[in-house]
Symmetry: C2
Subunit: 217 residues, 2 copies
């Protein structure tokens, strides 16, 4: 059996614990094609329901296209600011939440819901499973990127229609994530929203139940 | 900056490429509490929108509760078989698709959509982002488990209501994944559906576009 050694296991944990959402720390240095292909191939080896592989990857380097995404972010960001009140709104406005133009590469991961036909093994009772498979590809790429010492930022403050339009994505294909990727000056020690005092990390034991919801050891 | 070395990077890729969905290979050997806690803590360090940490983890060892999930699987599995026709239906019926009773541990990962309130940073334009965060926790746990040489199987052929009822999950909390976890006799070299000839792996280059959908290099 193909064993993962203890050292290799520790490397996986190190990568998981040191992965961050990058917004402000992108450097303009190019990401090589070789590294980019490794990231995409890793993402392509995420689990997918019924081996459906519903994902596509759009690699964005064109500045005009990045600008369209950025413009879409600005609109959704203004809408969002109005949803917060008082101190939270003030803090919200000070946060840098994306690095669309700074990151040398954008990758949009999508989900083709019709891939392999209407009936998919494992998706019969839960139609959302293909979307979840595409999300697994996002997290797999994110961890691979951290292992390459690259930063990744997930831009979620943008409407689907903007992404769909900017990247010419067909109507029946769902944008799952727009990711900014690049070399970074550094990784934050903790998630930025934790560092900023926005929210604390919850104690793990509060989140674990045994056999039945609410049942604690 | 905290660097991941080349050897550590390779360990991450090794884990990504050798992760499998386990159904038939579970051994009854217990998973230690120490390892279980490592898996849960790793999952708790997945990315989450607005640092919302919307997940809970229900750890199932009780055989009666596993049986309820298994009964729910049987119902959804019969429904599913009727959705396939001819040869595909025959093949479908021969596939072993879960190891609910054999795996020593079940873990249900859920998403509490109201955690941290109605307005969540980063979820304002895309309300599904909390569900996606919980899926990131699933894939993080899955990779950590592979790094511990443990098998994981995602049981998606079961209706949410069954899981909700069996585990006493509140109505406003969404079950994202029911995972079977345990030591295994072996890992398949390739995904089982690929080995069984159900579907081939798609060539990566068919899935990659440059700057705009359909644009190939």
């Amino acid at each position: 059996m193909l064993q993962i050694t203890q050292e290799e296991r520790d490397a996986v944990y190190k990568t998981i614990y040191n992965r961050r959402d990058t917004r402000s720390e992108f450097k303009s240095d190019e990401v090589s094609d070789e590294v980019l292909q490794r990231l995409l191939d890793a993402a392509h080896h995420a689990p997918s329901v019924g081996f459906m592989q519903p994902w596509d990857f759009i690699v964005i380097k064109d500045k005009k296209i990045k600008q369209k995404i950025k413009d879409g972010f600005e609109i959704a960001h203004k809408e969002a600011a109005n949803m917060f009140e008082g101190e939270k709104q003030k803090t919200y406005k000070t946060l840098k939440l994306e690095g669309i133009l700074e990151a040398p590469i954008g990758i949009c991961i999508t989900c083709d819901r019709k891939r392999t036909g209407d009936t998919v093994i494992g998706r019969t009772a839960n139609l959302e499973m293909d979307l979840y498979s595409a999300v697994c590809a996002v997290q797999t790429l994110w961890l691979a990127a951290r292992a390459e010492n690259l930063g990744v930022g997930w831009v979620s403050i943008v409407h689907h229609e903007v992404v769909q339009d900017a990247l010419n994505i067909p109507d029946d294909v769902v944008p799952i994530a727009y990711l900014c990727i690049g070399h970074v000056t550094h990784f934050h020690e903790k998630p930025e929203l934790e560092e900023a005092g926005w929210l604390p990390r919850m104690p793990l034991e509060d989140l674990v139940h045994y056999d039945s919801w609410g049942n604690k050891k």
